[in-house]
Amino acid sequence: MQLHISANDGLPIYLQIVNQVKYLVASGRLKPGEELTPIRVLAERLLVNHNTVARAYRELEAAGVVEKRRTAGTYVSDQGSPLARRERIKILTERIDALLAEARQMGVAFDDLMKLMQQRGAALQTDRNEE
């Protein structure tokens, strides 16, 4: 689990951790059931206060991305759970909004954007089949 923290990002450090873990989970680099780096270990590695890491893990737990287990430790939730699915939809919605805004600024019509989306989807499918 590789995270990169920048104190000059403007984004609070706990949110940087939250966003990056969400991204790792959504992109499949962290798999359901995988254990997150323990709070103290991550705090020392990133050189941040462990309360900051604890807060990030609490937020991730509240969002359903991770869960605490009785044996101590934080694990990536089963992505079939409704909360995790909602979280994924939320991440995608943010990206779609950004894409729509950019398309509008560039003067690309909505229908053309949808066409492009379908083309890219088909291209991705072909790549997969060739693998």
């Binding site: 403007g10 984004l11 609070p12 103290r40 020392e44 050189l47 206060n49 309360n51």
Partner: protein, 300 residues
């Protein structure tokens, strides 16, 4: 997982209306500050703001001219034994006896602290790659800082006070120092009080921050509160403007035409309403880095 958030109990450091005059210069001006037990407290301020003078009062090296200083509920000048034995201190100039060898200095310091943990001292010495036989005089700047840190940590103090611990050090030694701060508070109930002008470091490790300027505390709050209540908002106005209209809570502004950016103290919702009131819409809203908060507070 236990969170060692600052406890609600009495503060570990309690300073009230402390004033200190050096000749014509008022170094501390009716300064009040409470540091809660547990967690990391960062004191930030420019050169000559009064950081070191304040720390010297906390250690009982200076007597309060007016106002009061209490550490662990005790006056450190009247009760040096009850306070200093529980404080680990790294001074800015890292004044160590040059003529001693590393091993000798370790044994010498041990004698002052009943709580000295020799196994821990040895562990630190090896981690810091300090040669027992080396003369203190021959240590590099970085090794000297590590030696000072070892002496401050090895008696496992309740309160660790670091005056500009990273100043003038290379990134490797700075990492050692930050790592030591983080490990110290992971040890439950311990408190770290450190001054710094390297604000990205403070932002990483501190739970609470106080800004000192011209001998006074300008702001003392938790890092989360500071992040929530200091924003940079960009406003879009209906038409180009010569200069930005004043916005409630704004500390500074810059921009041109129809878009102006304000550095503000206030929460997002508050600022959105204030923007509406002057006929503008918020097109960007972001938290400030601690660096930006500091500059806007000290300049305004």
């Amino acid at each position: 997982m236990h969170d060692s958030f600052p406890s609600a109990g009495p503060p570990i450091i309690d300073i009230r209306r402390l004033t200190r005059q050096f000749g014509d210069k008022r170094a501390l001006d009716e300064l009040s500050l409470a540091v809660p037990r547990g967690g990391v407290f960062g004191l930030i301020g420019g050169n000559g703001a009064g950081k070191t003078t304040l720390i010297r009062h906390i250690l009982g090296m200076l007597k309060a001219e007016s106002g009061s200083v209490q550490v662990f509920g005790l006056d450190p000048v009247q009760n040096p034994v009850g306070t200093l034995g529980r404080i680990g201190y790294l001074s800015e100039d890292r004044d160590l006896p040059n003529w001693m060898r590393v091993g000798e200095l370790q044994r010498y310091t041990q004698a002052f602290f009943p709580t000295w943990d020799e196994a821990y001292a040895e562990e630190l010495r090896q981690a810091f790659d300090l040669d027992k036989q080396a003369r203190v005089k021959s240590l590099s700047r970085g090794q000297r800082a590590r030696m000072g840190l070892l002496l401050a940590l090895a008696h496992r103090p309740e309160l660790l006070v670091l005056d500009e611990p990273s100043s003038g050090l290379d990134p490797v030694v700075r990492r050692d120092i930050l790592g030591a701060i983080i490990r110290t508070i992971a040890d439950e109930g311990r408190t770290v009080f450190f001054s710094s002008h390297l604000l990205d470091e403070v932002e990483r490790v501190a739970d609470r921050v106080a800004i000192i300027h011209q001998g006074r505390i300008m702001l003392s709050a938790s890092m989360d509160e500071i992040k929530d209540t200091h924003r940079r908002v960009t406003l879009h106005f209906g038409e180009p403007l010569e200069r930005p209209p004043s916005l409630v809570g704004a500390l500074s502004s810059a921009g041109q035409g129809a878009e102006w950016t304000y550095v503000c103290s206030g929460e997002s919702e508050q600022l959105r309403r204030a923007a509406e009131a002057i006929g503008a819409t918020v097109v960007e809203d972001a938290a400030l880095s601690l660096d930006e908060v500091f500059v806007s507070r000290v300049q305004s």
